[in-house]
Each structure stands twice: as structure tokens, then as C-alpha cells.
């Protein structure tokens, strides 16, 4: 692949092409031209904050779907989707024991696309737990936790815990029988720890019973505390993938 500065395609659309990709507005946003030369393709990745999560080149086995099954990427995709649908749900939901259940009911019946939004959020949440678990399995079975990636595996384990906690805190919010009792069962498990269990449970639930205090705690953790932590750890996770030389490759 010889790097040429000129577009490889010289067609009748040249003028249109120049008008779109060489004008001052385009250049002010993207710096490089349309990514149709190797140089511009690399610049497109290197100069874009989002694409810059990637290196500009990767090993050829890593683009094979069967190497990663896209599972890490899918987990991240679902995290983003959950953030978006979650923000939309926040417009309609008030975390109080008087209103929460009615808000969810109204979402399902009165709000346009409300049910769809809630369904999306729910299925993506279940999906993310699954994809993160499967991503962990893929990393394990490809031996990708080995040096120098030990620490990124640990970061991954933290992300797994955060994912489970995100899902668990969200479980309470609809304030139906399923929510209340699942969280009661779950927090009772915490309470069963010797010595510190009961105090921990008390802090988590904000009382002896799952009620308003628990709801507001879970809500706050669910919409801001845990997502922020997850975002921080994901930043470290992605940064480390690059620092560790991209994905693991055979020696």
C-alpha cells in the first residue's frame, strides 16, 4: 500500500468532492480530507477524539469477528445505549415510593414510545450483563490476560462488578413486587456477612427495610454514582488496551 497524497479515485465528481471535503467548514472540523487515502485514513482516526480510542493500525487477526466476537465493543455500545435511554427515562421518573410505580405505569401507557424506551433500557441492561460475562470468557480463552495485560484484566473485573451493581440498583426503581423483593433478598445476602454485614446493609438500604431511603440511594447510585465510576474505569480499560500494545497477539 503505497501512501499517495492524491485521492485514488479520479472521477467526474471531483468538483463536488472538493466542494464538500476541501472547504473551510469541513477542514475546520476534520482537519484531514475524506479518508480515502491511507494518509487521510490514518489522520481520520488519529485526529478524531472518538476514533482515537483506536490505534491507526491493528493486527489483521484482530478484525476477524471470531477473535473478539465484538463483545467488549458491544458491552460499550450497550453502555452508551443505556445512558441515552436512561436519560430519556429520567424525564418521566420520580424516585419516590408514592410516584415511582405510577410513573412506570404511565410510561407504559401514556407516554409516546415510553414502553419502547423502557423495554430498550431493560433489554440492554440484561444484554450488557451477558456481553460483559461473555467478553470476560473470550478474554480468558484467548489468553489475553497474560503479561503485560494483567492489570487490565483486574480493571475488567472491577467493570464486571460495576455492571452487576448498575443492573442491581436499577432493578429496584420500578417499585413493583419484583423490584422490592428482589432487592430485599439481595440486600439480605449482604446483611448475612459476619460482623459488618448488618451495618453495611443498613447503609445500603438506609434503614431496616427497603423503603424510600433505599429507593433514593439506589436511584442516585444508578443514575450518577455507578455510571461515573464505570466511565472512569472504562477510560482506564481502553487507555490500557492501547498502552499494552493493542489486543494480545500470538508471540
Amino acid at each position: 500500500m503505497a501512501a499517495t497524497e492524491r485521492p485514488t479515485r479520479r472521477s467526474m465528481g471531483d468538483r463536488l468532492y472538493d466542494a464538500i471535503f476541501s472547504n473551510r467548514v469541513w477542514r475546520s472540523i476534520f482537519r484531514s480530507g475524506y479518508p480515502n487515502t491511507p494518509r487521510n485514513q490514518m489522520l481520520a482516526v488519529a485526529t478524531n477524539v472518538f476514533l482515537h480510542l483506536h490505534p491507526t493500525r491493528i493486527h489483521r487477526t484482530h478484525v476477524k469477528i471470531t477473535h473478539t466476537f465484538c463483545l467488549g465493543g458491544l458491552s460499550f455500545f450497550l453502555f452508551l445505549g443505556l445512558t441515552i435511554s436512561g436519560v430519556l427515562l429520567m424525564f418521566y421518573y420520580v424516585p419516590s415510593v408514592e410516584r415511582a410505580y405510577e410513573d412506570i405505569l404511565r410510561l407504559d401507557t401514556d407516554v409516546r414510545f415510553g414502553q419502547l424506551m423502557r423495554n430498550m433500557h431493560r433489554w440492554m441492561a440484561h444484554g450488557m450483563v451477558l456481553t460483559v460475562l461473555m467478553h470476560m470468557m473470550r478474554v480468558f480463552y484467548t489468553g489475553a490476560y497474560k503479561p503485560p495485560r494483567e492489570f487490565n484484566w483486574v480493571v475488567g473485573v472491577v467493570l464486571l462488578v460495576l455492571t452487576l451493581l448498575l443492573s442491581f440498583t436499577g432493578y429496584l426503581l420500578p417499585w413493583d413486587q419484583l423490584a422490592l423483593w428482589a432487592i430485599t433478598v439481595g440486600t439480605n445476602m449482604v446483611g448475612s456477612a459476619p460482623l459488618l454485614g448488618e451495618p453495611n446493609r443498613f447503609v445500603l438500604v438506609g434503614g431496616f427495610q427497603v423503603g424510600q431511603n433505599a429507593l433514593i440511594r439506589f436511584y442516585t447510585l444508578h443514575v450518577i454514582g455507578l455510571p461515573l465510576m464505570a466511565a472512569v474505569f472504562m477510560t482506564v480499560h481502553f487507555w490500557r488496551i492501547r498502552r499494552d500494545g493493542g489486543l494480545a497477539k500470538p508471540l
Binding site: P35, P38, Q41, A44, V45, L51, H54, R57, H59, R60, T61, I65, G73, F77, G81, Y101, I104, L105, D108, L116, R118, N119, M120, H121, R122, W123, M137, Y141, T142, G143, A144, Y145, K146, P147, R149, E150, V154, V157, V161, L164, S167, D176, Q177, L178, L180, W181, A182, V185, G186, M189, V190, S192, A193, L195, L196, G197, G211, A248, K249, P250
Partner: protein, 303 residues
């Protein structure tokens, strides 16, 4: 590729290697970005399809006065809830998951040899270890669950029509009730020769009481009254199983030449762990009904 030492970078060997690596590489744009874009589109479509066709569940309004039977944790914790049925709650709810997570995080610090990375199960016996680990662990877990449910006794009873002869081997609860088996003789039973084996009542409450004054530290008081049969059944036996069986598996696999290297033992144990996790989750989700008794169950029974 940037190399730290410029002199080294000059060497022909390094340049040769760099060139070879270059040839193995693709550009992220378009090769990877394209795949990412397509899978984002595909999964968006799939998710919208799912969300349009299947509604998220919503039961009756939360009511602290009405406990549903069964009450279940979210599905990814049902493995722990299943464990809860077989051992001390502190063990199942806190100790086991904590240790499991620490062990998971410690994998790379155990298996430090970087042979075999970057490829799916590249060793000659890797797949074998996946199969053996998963099969042994899932079947073993199922057998333990069925034993604790007294399946052997039920089968015996349905075949012979009479009660299972060894009552304390029906399940762990029976075992606990009858433990320790000890000649429980009173002067009368001694005299008429009917002195039988039975549980020792005093072993069920050894009053160590408040030896550790944790309450002085502002923590909850620690009650150390020991119930020996309960400790045995709820803690000692489960821990022995959870630690012993994996070790036994590795030992047998080692002796039979299935797992030799550290990586192979890792694969064996990790596959076993996943299999246990999945088995417990499936049993906890679909096979625990009213009173968490063993039997088919779906959440939709609620509605």
C-alpha cells in the same frame, strides 16, 4: 512502532521485524470502523425489534406486607441465592462471591507465562480441558443439588415403596438433625438394651457466648454460641466441597495427563467455574418454585 533506543532501532533485524509486523497490519479506517459501524447498526435493529415485541415485566405495586412466594433476586444473583439454600448465608452471600472475585482478578498473577496468548485455545489440550472442566463441574453441581434435595431417597422410595433406610443420609438437613450420632443412653435404655444412636443435644449449643466484645468497638455484638452440627453442615462441609472438589479435579486431570501446564489447569478451573455459575443460575431461575422447592418455574407464574 516507536522504539525506545535509537541505536537499536537502526539495527537491520529490528527494521525487518517492524516491516513484517506492518505487513500483518490493517488500517483501522476503514477495516475496523466498518465492522464496528455495521455491528452497531445490526444490534440497534435487533434491540429495537426485541423491545417492540417483548415488553419488560411490571408486577403489582411494591407491597412490603405481601411477600411473594418465591421471592427471587435478579437472575445474575440467583446462583448465590441457590448457594444460600445449601450453606450458611454469610458463606453463600458474601464470602464465596468475594473470594471468587478475588480469585478471578488474581488469574493473571498466577498464570504469568505468556505462551498461548492472542489465540483461541491454542494449546493441544486446551479444548479438552474446557470440556472436562465444564462437564465435571456442571454434572457435579447438579448431583450435589439433587443429593441435598434427597433425590436418591425419593427414587429409592418410588422403586421399593418403603422409606429410605438411612434416615440421616436423605439430605444435609437430616444429617444436621441427627448429628453427632452418639449412643444416647439413659439408665432406662441401658437397662432394657434399647440404647440407640442419636443426636447429642448439648452439641447444638455450646455457650461460648460473648467472648469477643465487638460491641465495645461500636460494632454489633458477636454471639459465639456454637451449634456444632450446624457449623458442620452449613460451613465445614460446603467449604470442604468447594475447595476440595476443584483441587481433586485438578489432581485427577494432572495424573491423567489432561492438564499439565498452569494454563491448562487455569482453563480447567475457569471452565469449571463458569459451568458452576451457569448451572446454579439455571437451577435458581427455572427450577426453584414455591418455597424455593425444586421444580419447574417461570416468573410468569406471578402474573
Amino acid at each position: 512502532m516507536t522504539t525506545a533506543n535509537p541505536a537499536e532501532a537502526q539495527s537491520a533485524a529490528v527494521r525487518g521485524r517492524a516491516r513484517r509486523q506492518r505487513e500483518e497490519e490493517l488500517l483501522v479506517w476503514p477495516d475496523l470502523v466498518f465492522i464496528e459501524f455495521i455491528s452497531a447498526v445490526v444490534f440497534t435493529v435487533l434491540l429495537v425489534g426485541l423491545a417492540v415485541t417483548v415488553d419488560a415485566i411490571l408486577l403489582d405495586r411494591a407491597n412490603p406486607a405481601v411477600t411473594p412466594n418465591p421471592s427471587k433476586a435478579p437472575w445474575y444473583f440467583l446462583n448465590l441465592q441457590e448457594l444460600l439454600l445449601h450453606m450458611h448465608p454469610a458463606l453463600a452471600g458474601v464470602v464465596v462471591p468475594t473470594i471468587a472475585l478475588i480469585a478471578l482478578g488474581a488469574i493473571p498473577y498466577w498464570d504469568t507465562d505468556n505462551e498461548g496468548q492472542g489465540e483461541w485455545l491454542s494449546g493441544p489440550r486446551d479444548w479438552l480441558n474446557v470440556g472436562v472442566g465444564a462437564a465435571v463441574a456442571s454434572i457435579g453441581t447438579l448431583m450435589l443439588i439433587l443429593f441435598d434435595d434427597g433425590m436418591h431417597a425419593k427414587i429409592y422410595e418410588s422403586l421399593t415403596g418403603s422409606k429410605f433406610p438411612i434416615s440421616w443420609l436423605v439430605n444435609m438437613r437430616e444429617f444436621q438433625k441427627n448429628f453427632p450420632l452418639w449412643p444416647t443412653c439413659t439408665p432406662e435404655t441401658l437397662k432394657d438394651g434399647s440404647c440407640a444412636l442419636g443426636p447429642l443435644e448439648w452439641a447444638k449449643s455450646i455457650p461460648l457466648g460473648k467472648v469477643l466484645r465487638t460491641d465495645l468497638l461500636g460494632l454489633p455484638a458477636l454471639d459465639l454460641n456454637v451449634n456444632i452440627p450446624a457449623v458442620l453442615v452449613e460451613q465445614i462441609i460446603p467449604v470442604t466441597m468447594m475447595v476440595g472438589l476443584p483441587i481433586l479435579l485438578s489432581l485427577v486431570a494432572y495424573k491423567r495427563g489432561i492438564a499439565q501446564t498452569k494454563r491448562e489447569h487455569m482453563i480447567l478451573q475457569f471452565s469449571g467455574f463458569i459451568a458452576v455459575y451457569v448451572t446454579l443460575t439455571i437451577v435458581g431461575t427455572y427450577f426453584r418454585g414455591q418455597g424455593l422447592a425444586l421444580g419447574p418455574y417461570t416468573i410468569f407464574a406471578h402474573q
